[in-house]
């Protein structure tokens, strides 16, 4: 390893904290914060999954008492659904692949010792945690949590308790929680961007950044814009609820025989603001996945990624286009039908960079000497589910077909495959890949491979049938399907429920593997995967300052595989020229 003797000009040193609180709780160390985010995501994903089990249970056995909840009422179902969506989208898909892994590895990838504003970074996590706590608090308030869905369409979300259980305090807490969450993500994104722009070590040009680092950078830019829009939207919603303003509530609404004294608000305004955030949010969830796959695959394929520049271009293009398509969520929302076509075209165009990225990954696999580790397998699984999910987008992007498929299970299948399952596979790949670096121990590969095979089968068992339901016109967000409507879909719903419970149970293997490996796993070498990026040039786990006082000089690209190197068929970024 090359090290420079003279450190760059510095403002002030801060040494490693000694007290427990500073070291593990209120830590400003990006590595600890990254772990905290991942821990939060783990708690959140468990909660969210349990909620979905109850939903599935009720859909399959509408008249049966659910363990712990008893007979699930329609409002309880909607509350489960709303909380499942909110928790998963915000506190899992946004925190884990982006804030979690990003915090831990972004500074290391750029050869820095930390983010430029460690205290903002710490705040970012604690603010996010607060948001989560506020959200789960609504489980115990009278009449329970919000039931207006994770999209919280006004006026239902704005007119207050008269419109249903959970639309009182529960919905207010929802809005407050999301507003707080935005602040947390803005603080985080600010740090990410500045880290990439200002903290790169000697010789690390932007072109030499690992793909996942690029992904995190692009994601943080998207996030910065998206959350800057959601925050005002939530504030206006809160004002409508508590201060009697009328931003989203029109005149002459009669809720429960009571004429509301609001006037002039626009329900569509909420939808526009929300989806202007909401669609980019989808890419905030999936782009880190892109990056993780593109970074991990070459390491196991033992050959450079096919078309590196192209891939980065695709991610940037997707990031940009994501701000031109929000209206495709609103084809039938009552906005001017002409604009639907305007939103449809860019939506269909997004499939081009997505397709290219997929082809690049498959092309990278071609003729490789692929090492089928668990992480490597999850990469391949990612490709499969992403393709499946992406293709159903072809249908929904067309207003004329959306007229039929909108708000059916077809949509549920689509976004679960393309953003939920795909993103989760990215997270799994990242976990199996980086766990050794984060905790200094290897994960158990045998358990890992079983976990992969069963999960892969499971998710197809759960979400593929939802396409059929959608085609049959089975509407989503229904707590049950009265016999005369969609009764014949019940067997399929039962199958999905069984598959969902199975897939959920399979995750226990992962949980066990995680805990067991954390304490009893094989000690991990510095570079178990023979990978090239900077995190593999330091110890596992990295020291407090990441490189033990060394200042690496980078003289190589992120994936120089299939070459003659000092250690074998690869050259690490920090290797001498």
């Amino acid at each position: 390893m090359t090290t420079v003797s003279t450190p760059p000009p510095v403002a002030h040193h801060h040494g490693p904290p000694t007290r427990f609180i500073q070291k593990y709780i209120f830590s400003t160390d990006h590595k600890v914060i990254g772990k905290q985010y991942l821990g939060l995501a783990l708690v959140a994903v468990t909660t969210g999954m349990v909620l979905s089990w109850y939903m599935r249970f009720h859909l399959a056995f509408p008249d049966a008492k659910a363990p712990g909840l008893g007979l699930i009422t329609p409002e309880q179902y909607l509350q489960l659904m709303t909380m499942h969506g909110t928790i998963m989208v915000f506190f899992v898909l946004t925190t884990a692949p982006f804030a979690g892994f990003g915090n831990f590895f972004l500074p290391i990838h750029v050869g820095a010792e930390d983010m430029p504003f460690p205290h903002f970074n710490m705040m970012s996590f604690w603010v996010t945690l607060t948001a989560f706590l506020v959200l789960v608090t609504s489980f115990v308030v009278p009449e329970g949590p919000a039931l207006a869905g994770w999209t919280a369409y006004a006026p239902l979300s704005a007119v207050g308790s008269g419109s249903g259980p959970g639309e009182g305090l529960g919905q207010t807490l929802w809005a407050i929680s999301i507003a707080i969450f935005c602040i947390g993500q803005l603080l985080g994104g600010l740090n990410f961007i500045c880290t990439v722009l200002d903290m790169r070590t000697k010789g690390l040009s932007l072109a030499r950044l690992p793909y996942v680092t690029w992904a995190w950078f692009i994601t943080s830019v998207i996030g910065l814009i998206a959350f800057s829009v959601l925050l005002p939207a939530c504030i206006l919603l809160i004002l409508d609820r508590v201060a009697g303003t009328s931003f989203f509530i029109p005149a002459g609404l009669v809720v429960n025989d009571r004429l509301l004294n609001h006037a002039g608000g626009s329900p569509l305004l909420w939808q526009h603001l929300f989806w202007f955030f909401g669609h980019p949010e989808v890419y905030i969830a999936i782009l880190p996945g892109f990056g993780i796959i593109s970074t991990i695959m070459p390491a196991f394929a033992r050959k450079p990624l096919l078309g590196p520049r192209v891939l980065i271009g695709c991610m940037a293009a997707i990031g940009f286009l994501s701000y031109t398509v929000w209206g495709h969520h609103m084809f039938l929302s009552g906005m001017n039908p002409t604009s639907a076509m305007g939103f449809s075209i860019p939506t269909l165009i997004i499939t081009i960079p997505a397709t290219i990225a997929t082809l690049l990954w498959i092309g990278t696999l071609y003729g490789s000497r692929y090492r089928f580790t668990t992480a490597g397998l999850f990469c391949l699984g990612f490709i499969s589910v992403f393709v499946t999910g992406g293709l159903s987008g072809f249908f929904l992007a067309q207003p004329s077909i959306d007229t039929y498929l909108h708000a059916t299970y077809f949509v549920v299948a689509h976004f679960h495959f393309v953003m939920a399952v795909a993103a989760i596979f990215g997270i799994f790949a990242g976990t199996y890949f980086w766990f050794p670096k984060m905790f200094g121990r290897m994960m158990n590969e045998t358990l890992g491979k079983w976990h992969f095979a069963l999960t892969f089968t499971g998710v197809y068992g759960v979400f593929m049938p939802m396409h059929y339901l959608g085609l049959a016109g089975n509407v989503r967000r229904y707590s049950s399907f009265p016999a005369e409507y969609m009764g014949q879909a019940l067997p399929l719903h039962r199958w999905i429920t069984v598959a969902a419970l199975f897939t959920g149970a399979v995750q226990l293997i992962f949980l066990y593997n995680l805990i067991r490996s954390r304490f009893a796993g094989e000690p991990a070498p510095d570079n178990p995967w023979e990978a090239t990026s900077l995190e593999w040039s330091t110890s596992s786990p990295p020291p407090f300052d990441n490189f033990g006082g060394r200042h690496l000089v980078v003289s190589h690209g992120p994936d120089e595989y299939a070459v003659k190197g000092p250690r074998g068929d690869y050259i690490m970024q920090a290797d001498p020229p």
Partner: protein
């Protein structure tokens, strides 16, 4: 041994002690003048399981009239002069059957427990819109146990089922146990009233309230009310 018997005897005596001597009562008939609004038939198309329980469509119940201008569902109660009354221990019962509230108007004492049963094959939600009590809104899927609740404050509470918007009734919460509800023939009876001077109030959900004073003595007192009806 003797003592036990003595105690038992006393207990028996006190148990069989006669009710207050010469409890009086008030009776009367509720009628209307003018033309009342025509009740609309209820179209339950959206809920076949309920629709098929009614051979002919049932009508709205906000103004129910009987033979010779009788007015039903009028609540007559002692609004002044009542010498204390305690909450009955027995619960008041309300049925939801054929997507209707049975009875349309249910009267209860403050803090008396009210049990609401769902006898339909569909899920109802009970949504009282009180002014002096906390509002609540709860679903009751078919086959779930009765919802048991109570209201602490006297109140005239419109109640609706959002799932079946035509379902509309009243929970009348009174601070007295001396009340009556007019039947389809317009008659009512308030019994168990100790002799004395009282003010009676008659309440109708559409035509409002009327009051009159009445003196209860040995004979049952009479108090008729006549409401002015309007077609719209």
């Amino acid at each position: 041994m003797m003592r036990t018997f003595a105690i038992l005897g006393v207990a028996l005596l006190s148990a069989s002690a006669p009710a207050p001597y010469m409890a009086g009562s008030v009776t009367g008939t509720i009628t209307f003048t003018g033309t009342p609004p025509k009740m609309k038939p209820i179209d339950m198309a959206k809920e076949p399981s309920c629709a098929k329980q009614h051979a002919t469509p049932i009508e709205t119940e906000n103004v129910v009239t009987g033979p010779n201008n009788a007015l039903q569902y009028v609540v007559i109660y002692v609004s002044a002069g009542d010498q204390g009354s305690e909450t009955p221990a027995t619960p008041v019962h309300l049925d939801q059957k054929g997507c209707q509230y049975i009875p349309h108007v249910v009267v209860m004492h403050t803090a008396q427990s009210l049990e609401i049963a769902n006898n339909d094959q569909t899920s109802h939600n009970i949504h009282p819109l009180p002014t002096k009590n906390p509002e609540w809104n709860k679903s009751q899927p078919p086959g779930s146990p009765p919802i048991v609740t109570k209201y602490e404050n006297a109140d005239f509470i419109p109640v609706k089922c959002n799932v079946h918007p035509w379902m509309h009734g009243y929970h009348i919460v009174l601070a007295t146990s001396h009340f009556g509800v007019s039947g389809n023939d317009g008659t009512y009876t308030i019994s168990g009233l100790p002799p004395g001077k009282y003010t009676l109030t008659a309440w109708h959900e559409k035509f409002g309230t009327m009051t009159q004073d009445v003196t209860v003595g040995a004979q049952p007192a009479k108090a008729d009310f006549q409401f002015k009806a309007t077609p719209y």
